[in-house]
Symmetry: C2
Subunit: 184 residues, 2 copies
Amino acid sequence: MKTQSKRKTIAIDMDGVIADVESQLVKYYEQTYGITTTVEAIQGLSGAEAFPEDSATKKMLNVPGFFRTLEVMPGAIEAVKKLAEQYELYIVSAATEFPLSLLEKIEWLGEHFPFIGWRNIVMCGDKSIIDTDYMIDDHCKNLDFCSGKAIMFNAHHNLRQHHHTRVHNWQEVLALFESFNDQA
Amino acid sequence: MKTQSKRKTIAIDMDGVIADVESQLVKYYEQTYGITTTVEAIQGLSGAEAFPEDSATKKMLNVPGFFRTLEVMPGAIEAVKKLAEQYELYIVSAATEFPLSLLEKIEWLGEHFPFIGWRNIVMCGDKSIIDTDYMIDDHCKNLDFCSGKAIMFNAHHNLRQHHHTRVHNWQEVLALFESFNDQA
């Protein structure tokens, strides 16, 4: 009985899609372990390969402030605003693994994406029960099980996966959605 | 491409379903406004009718500790544990309207429902993009738009709504699911 909205729906991930996690991990890795790497150097590597010390990725994600101070991905605000004219957008973040991140993520969205209201924010774990027409995400663990069309946002850890439509930046996202020619 | 789990899925609401919000509202209303009412007295009333002072419901829901100290609904733990043997359960709470509640809800679940892992917890707003085989909830705004079978958990504010299957307690939930005869 899904008749609430006639607009097509898009689930948009946060980390690695609208929020720049790669730069932050590189920065925190240097601060915490004194090891310098670069966003360029980690392309094609898994999290464990990119930051091999001491389960570093998980530890860095648990540092208070990590999510609150992320940079916005280039062009994300303008592109999301543009998509919101035509689509019903949901920000869907797999955040419940890191409970301290929940409030930081809500505050971060309030600062950078104030036009996304609380009704359209989802903080979850497994995304397999999220039912939208499109899903933009950087992880196969989410995209492989989504019910709509999967769109893979380029990230250092997903370069070896080729079974989803890939976009490298928000300009490509907009161009892709223009090609879909959905009715408003 | 939804093949991750072959078990049928249930979305279970928190407030008014596994967490006893009515008793807490009655208690906080007396503490805050000095007006005594009872759970029995508010049956059949909307939130605004039950607690008419000064947008009281919304204000009480924003008090730190409100959600963290809720009582568990009678029989909920045992019943949810029983359902978890056969179904894939997701706790789905419309919590993003109250950002301070997010961590409190995660902590509350960790205390009372530690067998529900982070992958199966969803804190959202609008539940219309939640796709499960069943949804147990006390609000029509959620049940009317769910894609699966809607099950209305009895609450003071929903007594006038009759278009969903109603359960009055967790024993009735278990009996209902036994009647479905789903395969494990």
